[in-house]
């Protein structure tokens, strides 16, 4: 996917592009804490959860089938990924397998799913043509999913509030910064010590965080 695509998409949704922070990092799973708190992803058009994960996030099928054990769409546990629809206003949360009765109860298509049937996902109203336009979906990646899917989400580009990103970066230990490679803010190189010294100033209230596979600019 060309790296400018999320920026273009965002411009189409919000009318203005956010500050873009592009970076390399050897261990994207160290962004776990920010991923569990939630972020927004731009999406071309409504789609079912399965296609969203596969096509928008780029998650391989076996990871979807085996690792993503528990899903919530707008707070409702989802059993069937093909019928649940990601649409404007949706919040999607993903979790790995969880312990205890609660884990068994929330699990996708699990034996105990009946125990939470009052809150289970039920089919939405059918979509109309009017919905077929780009929108933002809120995503939260919990526990092992934050670690497993960090690379996919960050490569896709995630939108996070500036305050939360600053707080996260300020708290990172040296081990995190050692994995941090080249970085640029709105196409201007920025040294990593600027982050932990809080000496950087993004221009917008939300930042598009985009993981690059190789240095962006030398």
């Amino acid at each position: 996917m060309p790296s400018t695509e999320p920026v273009d998409l965002l411009s189409r949704i919000t009318g203005a592009a956010p500050s873009l922070l592009r970076f390399t990092h050897a261990q994207p799973n160290q962004f776990e804490i920010i991923l569990q708190a939630g972020f927004a992803l731009p999406v071309e058009r409504p789609t079912n959860v399965y296609e969203f994960l596969r096509d928008q996030l780029g998650v391989p099928e076996e990871v979807i089938q085996q690792r993503i054990q528990t899903l919530f769409l707008n707070s409702s546990p989802v059993d069937n990924l093909l019928t649940a629809q990601v649409r404007p206003g949706s919040t999607l949360a993903l979790s790995g397998a969880l312990p205890g009765l609660l884990g068994a109860t929330m699990r996708r298509g699990g034996y105990y799913s009946r125990m939470r049937e009052g809150i289970s996902y039920k089919q939405d109203e059918p979509l109309t043509e009017e919905h077929a336009k780009p929108f933002l979906v809120q995503v939260r990646l919990y526990n092992l999913m934050a670690r497993d899917l960090a690379g996919y989400a960050l490569r896709r580009g995630i939108l996070v509030p500036k305050d939360r990103l600053c707080e996260f970066l300020e708290q990172q230990p040296p081990a995190f910064w050692m994995q941090f490679g080249h970085c640029e803010l709105d196409e201007k190189p920025i040294p990593t010590d600027a982050f932990h010294q809080a000496a950087w100033e993004p221009c917008t209230e939300t930042i598009l965080l985009l993981l690059a596979d190789s240095p962006v600019k030398e």
Binding site: R67, A93, L98, P99, G100, R116, L144
Partner: protein, 578 residues
């Protein structure tokens, strides 16, 4: 484990120890044993703090052997909090030590004479009982320090804090962990008060010089245990999720589901849950030099626990459990992990159940005693309870009593015991379990999830949805059986998903005892335990009318799903149709 130690606290001249063969209780362990003794030997209509009640401490069947994750200890009695029969379960090192010394149970009975406090010391040479008045009103951590100077830190300590000594209905029995910290607790139902009523402050269990219990069939046992550990390590929950995040992995997910009770069960979602999640907790523990992966006893292959340090790298407490982080955190509107960890330490030190105390503080907040979110106020209240001030006595009596004293309807309790961290309106099946369990509102009574392999409900057609009552019944039966083995309930997921791991567990038990148990026998054991407990409760005066949630759960919708608890009384009454 062929002997029982009885301590008669009413004997002339002070408590007397008598060791007797295990006799009619042969082949039982853990909850099966505590329930059998309480059912047979305690009059159901007695006062829990009276001389007729008994405190039964029993290692699980596999404790003291090399079986992985099998060091759970059961504590049984008639509960001062609920008035029902009680089994409270703890980790820590004592269960293994008792098993290695060959004790199937320690039973403390009789009528305390005078006001002296006593300590029981058990080792391979026998049992000694001595006065322990110097320990009076010592909190658990201070007590452990004193015990350490005399016995070292390789022994196990079972003790009560100030709450147990004051015979508070919310009081625990503490068990030391591998670092000799009194951080593991038989928490629920006020079992500490029963120990306090017998005048026993501490039990030191010294298994030095003993060997691990040997299986009847060593080769089979070794192979079965190897497969069992392989199964635990290979499963995503027991091999990855729990070791990485502990039980607090549930915070984000429950909150997402809108079933995370917040502000004394007023709402189903807490806006700051992401600040107290298992992910953040594990990250903080690692950064501060604590541990995000740690076992509550040696030989646990899962290691769901951890060690929590303050920002200067000093020990605060063991990794607070999901229920604790919820009870003191989200339920009280407190989103600071350091404050929650401090409250966890205070509970462990004074000897309070964290669920009961957190819910009690939530009730006190709703009553206006302090504000929701007031972390310092919450610590002050726990301090009052631990010191036994007049207000503290009310708080130490639990959530139901506190609500009554402050004139509130909204006490989230069943049979006098506070509900744990899952709102029964959002997850109704858990509500059925809260309502009907023999223990009062209790989540662990539905924790084991191996029911489909055990075929608890017969050969259930997986395509036919079972009713809430049927599912809850099956879970309660399976849990009662598993609670008797000494295996930690957290093995449940691996044995649910992996039939070969379940088989390896049954094979380990069979190889240990030279038995040929089948899944059916395990189910029968679970049913037998539940029948005994139900019968005890009926004779103690409990009826169907007690198997209900407080009415406001059927009346007040829970946001964000706006659901109420609407499982019919008829369905609730059918849970025990077996």
């Amino acid at each position: 484990m062929d002997k029982i130690l009885r301590i008669d606290v009413g004997a002339a001249g002070g408590p007397k120890a008598k060791v007797e063969p295990v006799g009619e209780y042969t082949g039982l362990g853990g909850r099966a044993l505590t329930t059998s003794v309480v059912s047979k030997e305690v009059p159901p209509d007695c006062h829990p703090l009276g001389p007729e009640n008994k405190l039964v401490i029993a290692p699980g069947l596999m404790s003291g052997s090399a079986a992985s994750s099998s060091g759970r200890l059961s504590v049984g009695c008639k509960s001062p909090l609920t008035g029902t029969i009680k089994e409270a379960n703890s980790g820590g090192t004592a269960s293994q030590a008792l098993g290695r010394l060959g004790y199937a149970a320690v039973i403390i009975e009789g009528e305390r004479q005078g006001d002296d406090l006593y300590m029981i010391v058990m080792d391979s040479s026998g049992v000694k009982i001595e006065k322990a008045n110097d320990f009076r009103m010592l909190p658990n951590y201070d007590l452990a320090e004193k015990i350490k100077t005399r016995f070292g830190d390789k022994v196990s300590l079972i003790s009560i804090g100030t709450a147990g000594e004051m015979r508070m209905a919310n009081s625990t029995i503490a068990v030391t962990d591998v670092e000799f910290r009194p951080s593991r607790h038989a928490g629920r139902g006020g079992v500490g008060a029963v120990m306090g009523s017998k005048g026993i402050k501490a039990i030191v269990v010294n298994a030095e010089g003993t060997k691990m219990r040997q299986p009847a069939n060593p080769d089979k046992f070794k192979e079965a245990n190897r497969k069992f550990v392989e199964g635990l390590k290979g499963h995503a929950v027991t091999g990855q999720g729990l070791p990485a995040y502990g039980t607090n992995i549930l915070t984000n997910v429950l909150n997402e589901a809108g079933g995370y009770p917040t502000y004394n069960f007023k709402e189903g979602r807490y806006k700051h849950a992401d600040k107290i999640s298992g992910e953040v907790q594990a990250d903080l523990e690692t950064k501060r030099g604590g541990l995000a992966t740690h076992g509550c006893h040696r030989g646990c292959a899962i290691q769901c626990s951890g060690v929590y340090h303050d920002k200067d790298g000093h020990y605060v407490t063991k990794q607070p459990e999901y229920e604790t982080v919820w009870a003191h955190g989200g339920n009280c509107g407190i989103c600071d992990l350091d404050s929650i960890a401090r409250l966890d330490f205070m509970d462990d030190n004074y000897g309070f159940d964290t669920i009961e105390m957190g819910v009690t503080i939530g009730v006190a907040m709703e009553a206006g005693l302090i504000k929701f979110g007031d972390a310092e106020g919450a610590q002050r209240l726990v301090d009052e309870a631990g010191k036994g001030t007049p207000l503290g006595r009310i708080l130490g009596a639990g959530a139901a009593v506190t609500a009554k004293c402050f004139g509130l309807e909204r006490a989230p309790v069943v049979k006098g015991q506070a509900m744990p961290a899952y709102d029964p309106r959002a997850v109704k099946g858990i509500g059925v379990t809260y309502a009907t369990t023999t223990q009062g509102a209790d989540h662990t009574a539905g924790y084991a999830v191996a029911t489909n392999i055990l075929k608890v409900g017969g050969d259930v057609d997986p395509l036919k949805p079972a009713g809430q009552a049927e599912l809850s019944r099956n879970l309660q039966i399976a849990t009662a059986a598993l609670d008797s083995t000494g295996y930690c309930l957290f093995i449940a997921f691996a044995i649910l998903d992996q039939p070969e791991t379940f088989q390896a567990m049954v094979d380990s038990i069979n190889a240990m005892y030279g038995l040929e148990l089948t899944g059916n026998d395990v189910v029968e054991l679970g049913k037998k335990v539940l029948r005994m407990e139900r019968q005890f409760n009926e004779q103690a005066g409990f009826t169907k009318a007690h198997d209900r949630l407080p009415r406001y759960f059927s009346r007040e919708p829970l946001a964000p799903h706006n659901v109420v608890f609407d499982v019919s009384d008829k369905e609730l009454d059918s849970v025990f149709n077996f």
